[in-house]
Symmetry: C2
Subunit: 699 residues, 2 copies
C-alpha cells in the first residue's frame, strides 16, 4: 500500500534548487544525504547539476521510470507539473508547495482542480502544503525537515507541519526513534485513514502517534483505527476542540453533542488513547516504544525517599492501577534483607542510603512476585546514592524482564549522565513520578482494550419501508420537524414501546377516545410547528373525566393558536397515562465528521442542568451500549439507590441498539430526542412518552 | 523571628566529623564552604581540628556565645547534647539525627522526651530527622545537601528531606534561586506555621513553596497562610491524600468529609495555590519568581506554527483565562506589517518563516494593547527561525514590560542554547504550551485572590448557655447522639427555623397534639438510639386524621422495639407537615487537622449518589458561604432551572453562618447533619425538618 511513497525505486524532485535555504534545495539535500543518490532526479531547467547530481529540464527528459515525484514549485505551476507526471506515468506525488486552500479562495479553487486531476488519473497525493515524509527503513527523507530522526519503532503522522519540526528536534535528545514520519498538510487526497492502514501493515512500526485537528471520514477513521489498535497502540492528540462551540439546535441531544463529544466517543470506540497534551503524547510514546504491556494493574513502587513514594502512591490511587500486595515470600525476603527502618510494603522505601546493590536486590525480588505487573523505580540523588551505577543495574534488569518497568530519577545536573544511560537502554524515565504512573496506566488501559472483543453489530429485523413512507409523507408537506404522533409511530416500528395514543380533532372525539383508552389520560397539543409543547402549557397530565377532557381540549388548542397564529394545529393527542418508572432520555445528533452520535442520560435536570450524559457513535454494539449506561455519574440511581429496585437496564440497552440502527438506516434523520423514555423496574421494560425527530431540511 | 536559625552569629556543630561521606562532615563542610568560617565551632572530643578549624570536646569549652547548635550525634545521645545546650544558654537547635518517631516506639518515646525538654527551657528546635536548612542571604548552609542553591527569591519548606535533594539538584539547571530552603523533618517543634511567618516577613522572599503531607495546627495554618498570601504567593503540593480513606461515620457529612476535602477547603480559604504535582509546583514557581502578575485574564498567543497555536488556544479555553480581543489599532498594524497569510487575531500566527525581527515587531505591538494582560510566545524551530536571536529579543522585551510574559520554545537539541538565554534573563519557558497556559492561569487566580477582601466573621447574638444546658443534659444520660427533638431545639437557638413539633408519649397525647398543630402532620419515632429513622419505617408523612395518628403511633413504636430490643423509646414526635420547597443539606464534621468542616449540598440523591457537595472550614465569612452555594454542580437548580422560581439563597447563607458559629462555639460537637433543610423561594426562608448531632463520646 502506497509503496511508492515509502520505498520508491526512483524519486524526482520537481523544483529542486541549488540555492541553500530554499525548500527545493533542503529537501533535495535530505534525499541525497540520507540514502537516495543514484536514483534521485532533480528537475530544474536552469541547472545542469545539483549537489553533483545531473539535473533535467523536465520530467519527460528523465531516462527511466519514476515512482515518486516530489513537487516544490510555486502553487500556480503545480497543475502543470502534475500534467507532466501524468505524461510520465507517475502514480505517486508529494506536493510540498503551499498556496492552496489554507491561503484563501483562489488557493481553494486551485486545490479543487488539483484534486479532480489526480482523481481522474488515479494518482495518489500527499499534501499539498506539507513538510513531506520520512521512512527510516528505506532511508527516504523526502522532507525539508532540519533533522533525520533515528531509526525506531514509532510512526508519526501530523496535521501540523511545524509541530513535526519541533518533534524531530525533541526526539534527538530523548533517544526516540521513528519508523515513519509523515506531514499530511491539507489532506486533499491521502489522509489519516490511508496512513493508519499503512502503519498497521508496517512490520517496523510498534506504536502509532498522531496529531489531528479533525478527520475527513469519521466512520472509516473508526474502522481502520479499530483494526490497528487491535494490533498496536495508537496515541493521538486532538486539538481545536474547545474552539467550536456546540451548534445551535432544537433538540437536547443536539445542544449537548458537539465535536468534542463525538471525538471522545470515536476514540473510545476505536481504542485510541487520547493524550491531553503533546507532553503526554511523548510520555506515552516512550514507554509503549520500549516496554512490554503490563499483564494486570498491580504496580510496585521502589523508592529511596519517603515523600516521592507517597506522591507516586497518591497518583496510583487516583488511577486505574492498583498498589501491589506482595506475596508473603517477597515480604519475608525484603524484611530480612533490608535495614530495619525500610518499608517492605508497597511503596517499598529502601531508604536514603540505598546503593545500586540494594536497588538490584529489591527490584529483582519484586519482579519475581506474581502479584506484580509493573515496577516504578524512584531515585533521589542523596549523598550515598550511586546514580549511574543504579541506572546501569536497572537497564540491565529491564532488558531481561517481561514486566513493565519505568523510572523516575528526580533531579537535574547530577542525574544527567544516568538519564543518558537509561535512555539508550530503553528504560523510560520520567522527571516526576506522577507522569510515570500516568504512562503505565495508559499501557494498562490499552492492554484491557486489546482483550476486549470487537463489538458485534446485530441487525434487528424491522419494516424499514413503513418508516420510509412516514418520512416521505412528512417531506411532501415541506416540514422537516415531525410531529409527536408520527415520530412515535416511527420509533415504534423500530421496537420502542409507546403508550396508547389517538389524535382527536374535536372535543367530542377527544372524550370518545379518552374513554376508549381509559382514564386518567394525558392531553397534548399536536402540531408540527410547536416543538416545546410543555413550555406554554400544551400538555396536561392526569385528566380524570369527561368534563376535564372538554375543558382542557379547548384550553390547549386556544393557547396554541395564541402562541403561534399560523401554527398548523392537527388536534389534541389523547394518550394513556403512564405512572411510575424513571425518566431517561435517548437521543441522536448527526455529527458532520462522525455521523450519528447517540446520547444517553437520565431525564429532566440530569440532562438539562447537570449535563450528565454519555455518547457513542452508531452503529453501537451491545457492550458499548452497556458502557454508555454505566458511564453516567448518576448511574447508581438506575441500579437502585436508596432502597429502590434497579431499573430494567437490559431494556435500555435494547432501546439504544434500536436507536443506533434507526440512525444508521436513515441518513436523513438529523436529530432525535426520545424524551422522556420511562424505564420500569427490572423485567418491566420501557415506554417512550414523547419523541421528536428532525429530517434533513430541504433548503 | 527565629533569627538565630537564619542568621546566627555563631554556629556549633555537635558531632562534626573529619570523615568524608559522614553527615557530620558534609554538614560542617557546607557551613564552612559557603560562608561560615571564623564563627563556626565543630564539637568532637576526638579531633583537634576539622577542615582546619579548631574543634572542641564539648559545647561548654567553646569560648564564646553560640546562637545555633546543629546536632548530628546518634539519636540516643541527643538529649544529653540538648542538656549541654541548655547549660550553654543556646536557644536555637537543629536536630539532624534520625531515630525518633519515624523509627518506631522507642524513637517516639525519645522524641517526646526531647520535646518536653526544649519546651521547658524555651528552646526552639528544627527537626529531628531533617536535612537542615539553607539561607542564601546570610550564606548559611546548615544542611548536608550536596548543592548550595543560587540566591533567589523563592523560599521552600518541605516535609520530605529526600525531595529537597532532588529539588536542589534540579534548580541548578533551571536558573532557579532560593532565599531560604528548609527541611522540616518530624516537625516536633518548628512547623510550617512558624516558617510561613518567617517567610512572610522575609524581604528577600517573593514566592513561597511547600511540600506537605499534613499540618500540625490547622486553624493556625489557615490564619498564617492567609496573612502571607495577601502579600506573596504560596504554592503547595500536598500528598498522602488519597491514601486515607474517608473515616467510618454515622452522618452523611462525616462520610463525605475526609482529609482531602478539608485540605482543599483550607487551601481555598487561605489563598494557597495547590499544585497537583511537583512538576506543576515548579512550573508555577518559575513564573511567579520572574514575572509580574497579570492585571486581567486576557492572554495573547503569538506563534510561528498553526498547530501549537491551536493547542495553546484550546488550553486557554479550558482555563479561566480569555483569548484577547485586540484593539482595532493593533489589528490594523498587524495586518499592514505581516505577510498576507498571517493570522492577525488571537492566536496570532506570524508564519513559519518568521525571524526575530518579526517576533519583536508583533510582541511589542501586542504588549501596547490595553486588552492584553499576558503574552505567550510559541516558537517551533523551523528552517528560517532565528532561535537564539528571538530568545534575546524576548528577554529584552520581558525585562522592560510590566505585563506577564512566558514562552514555549518547542524542541530539543536545537533550542538548548536559547533556553539558557531566557532562563538567565528570567523569561519562564515551558516545553509545551499547555503548561505555560496553566502557569499564567495560576498567576491570574492568585491576582484575583489578592484583590478579594479577607472574610469578616460576624458573630450572631445567641443564647449559648441554653444550648450548653441541652448538651449537659445529654451528656448526663451517657448518650452522645442527640435525639431529633433536642438537636432541633439546639439549632433553633442558633436561628434555624424548625417546624412545630411536640413529643407524644401515648396515642391519646399524639392525637391531642396533632390537633393542636393542625392536620396533616408527620409522625417520627423519638429515640436517641435510632439514628436512621426512615430506614425501618420510623417516619410517616401526611398523617391526615385521628384514626391515622392512632394507627401509625402503634405501628411505629412497635417496629422500633422490634428493630432494637433495648432502644430507649421516648415516644413519637408529632410535627407540622411542610409542603413545597427544595431539600438541601447542611452538615459539619470535625476534621482532626482543621476542625469544623462545614458541608453544603442539595438533599437526597445529590448528596448520596452524586456527592455534589462543597466544603469550608469554620468560621466562615458571608462571601465564602455564597461561594459554597455557587460551587456545587447542581447550583442551577437553586437559581431556578426549568422555569422554577429561584430559592432563597440569602437564607441558606445565613444558615451556613449559623452552623459555622455553632460549630466554632461548641468544640464538643463532633458531627452534625441538618437534613433535609427545606429552602423556599426567594424571601421565604428555610426550615429544618430534621437534625442530627453527635457530641464527643466519653470513651
Amino acid at each position: 500500500m502506497l509503496e511508492h511513497f515509502f520505498s520508491p525505486k526512483a524519486v524526482a524532485v520537481v523544483g529542486a534548487s541549488r540555492e541553500e535555504g530554499k525548500v527545493g534545495h533542503d529537501l533535495f539535500k535530505n534525499l541525497v544525504k540520507f540514502g537516495y543518490k543514484d536514483n534521485v532526479y532533480p528537475i530544474n531547467p536552469h541547472a545542469d547539476y545539483i549537489l553533483g547530481i545531473k539535473a533535467y529540464a523536465s520530467l519527460k527528459e528523465v531516462p527511466c521510470k519514476i515512482d515518486l515525484a516530489v513537487i516544490v514549485v510555486p502553487s500556480l505551476y503545480v497543475i502543470k507539473v502534475v500534467d507532466e507526471c501524468i505524461a510520465k506515468g507517475i502514480d505517486s506525488i508529494i506536493v510540498i508547495s503551499a498556496g492552496f486552500k489554507e491561503s484563501g479562495i483562489d488557493g481553494a479553487v486551485r486545490e479543487k482542480e488539483l484534486h479532480q486531476k489526480i482523481k481522474q488519473h488515479s494518482i495518489r497525493m500527499l499534501g499539498p502544503n506539507c513538510l513531506g515524509l520520512i521512512d527510516t527503513q528505506s532511508d527516504l527523507n523526502a522532507s525539508f525537515a532540519a533533522d533525520m530522526p533515528a531509526q525506531g519503532n514509532i510512526a508519526f503522522f501530523s496535521q501540523s507541519g511545524a509541530l513535526c519540526t519541533s518533534i524531530l528536534d525533541w526526539a534527538v535528545n530523548e533517544c526516540i526513534g521513528f519508523s515513519k514520519f509523515i506531514s499530511m498538510g491539507n489532506k486533499t487526497d491521502i489522509d489519516e485513514v490511508d496512513l493508519i492502514k499503512v502503519m498497521n501493515e508496517d512490520p517496523h512500526t510498534k506504536v502509532v502517534l498522531g496529531y489531528l485537528e479533525g478527520v475527513k471520514n469519521g466512520s472509516a477513521f473508526i474502522d481502520t483505527s479499530q483494526n490497528l489498535t487491535k494490533n498496536k497502540p495508537m496515541i493521538v492528540v486532538k486539538s481545536g476542540g474547545t474552539m467550536a462551540g456546540a451548534k445551535a439546535s432544537s433538540s437536547h441531544t443536539g445542544a449537548l453533542a458537539g465535536a468534542e463529544n463525538a471525538f471522545d466517543a470515536a476514540f473510545k470506540q476505536s481504542g485510541i488513547l487520547r493524550a491531553k497534551t503533546i507532553e503526554e503524547l511523548f510520555d506515552y510514546a516512550r514507554i509503549f516504544s520500549h516496554q512490554n504491556l503490563p499483564k494486570g494493574p498491580n504496580i510496585a513502587l521502589i523508592t529511596n525517599a519517603g515523600g516521592p513514594g507517597i506522591i507516586a502512591a497518591d497518583a496510583v490511587e487516583r488511577s486505574r492501577l492498583k498498589m501491589a500486595s506482595f506475596c508473603k515470600n517477597t515480604i519475608d525476603f525484603l524484611r530480612s534483607s533490608l535495614p530495619a527502618m525500610a518499608n517492605v510494603y508497597d511503596p517499598i522505601d529502601i531508604l536514603g542510603d540505598a546503593k545500586a546493590a540494594r536497588y538490584k536486590l529489591v527490584i529483582e525480588k519484586v519482579l519475581e512476585d506474581p502479584n506484580v505487573d509493573a515496577v516504578l523505580i524512584i531515585l533521589t540523588p542523596q549523598a550515598m546514592t550511586e546514580i549511574e551505577k543504579t541506572a546501569e543495574v536497572i537497564s540491565e534488569i529491564s532488558n531481561r524482564t517481561s514486566k513493565t518497568m519505568a523510572t523516575s530519577f528526580m533531579g537535574g545536573k547530577r542525574i544527567e549522565r544516568s538519564l543518558k544511560i537509561m535512555c539508550q537502554r530503553k528504560v523510560p524515565n520520567y522527571p516526576f513520578p506522577e507522569r510515570a504512573v500516568s504512562a503505565i496506566e495508559a499501557m494498562y488501559k490499552y492492554a484491557l482494550w486489546q482483550k476486549k472483543p470487537i463489538p458485534e453489530i446485530n441487525k434487528i429485523n424491522v419494516q424499514k419501508e413503513r418508516v420510509l413512507s412516514i418520512f416521505e409523507k412528512i417531506k411532501q408537506t415541506g416540514h422537516h420537524h415531525m410531529d409527536e404522533k408520527d415520530a412515535k409511530e416511527a420509533i415504534s416500528i423500530y421496537g420502542f414501546r409507546i403508550p396508547k395514543s389517538i389524535l382527536a380533532t374535536s372535543e367530542a372525539e377527544a372524550v370518545k377516545v379518552a374513554e376508549e383508552i381509559g382514564y386518567p389520560v394525558v392531553l397534548k397539543i399536536s402540531s408540527p410547528d410547536i416543538l416545546h409543547k410543555s413550555d406554554f402549557g400544551g400538555v396536561v397530565i392526569g385528566v380524570k373525566n369527561e368534563a376535564e377532557v372538554r375543558r382542557h381540549f379547548c384550553d390547549i388548542t386556544q393557547k396554541a393558536q395564541r402562541l403561534m397564529l399560523d401554527a398548523e394545529i392537527k388536534g389534541v393527542l389523547v394518550q394513556q397515562m403512564i405512572a411510575g418508572g424513571k425518566e431517561i432520555i435517548l437521543g441522536m445528533s448527526r455529527d458532520p465528521q462522525f455521523g450519528p452520535l447517540i446520547m444517553f442520560g437520565l431525564g429532566g435536570i440530569y440532562v438539562e442542568v447537570l449535563k450528565d450524559v454519555s455518547f457513542r457513535i452508531a452503529p453501537i454494539g451491545k457492550e458499548e451500549a452497556e458502557e454508555m449506561i454505566r458511564e453516567i455519574r448518576s448511574f447508581p440511581l438506575l441500579k437502585g439507590a436508596r432502597g429502590e429496585k434497579p431499573v430494567d437496564t437490559n431494556a435500555i440497552v435494547d432501546n439504544i441498539l434500536m436507536l443506533s440502527q434507526m440512525a444508521t438506516d436513515f441518513p436523513e434523520i438529523v436529530e432525535m430526542d426520545i424524551n422522556p423514555l420511562i424505564v420500569f423496574p427490572e423485567g418491566n421494560g420501557t415506554i417512550a412518552l414523547d419523541a421528536r425527530l428532525t429530517l434533513v431540511s430541504r433548503e
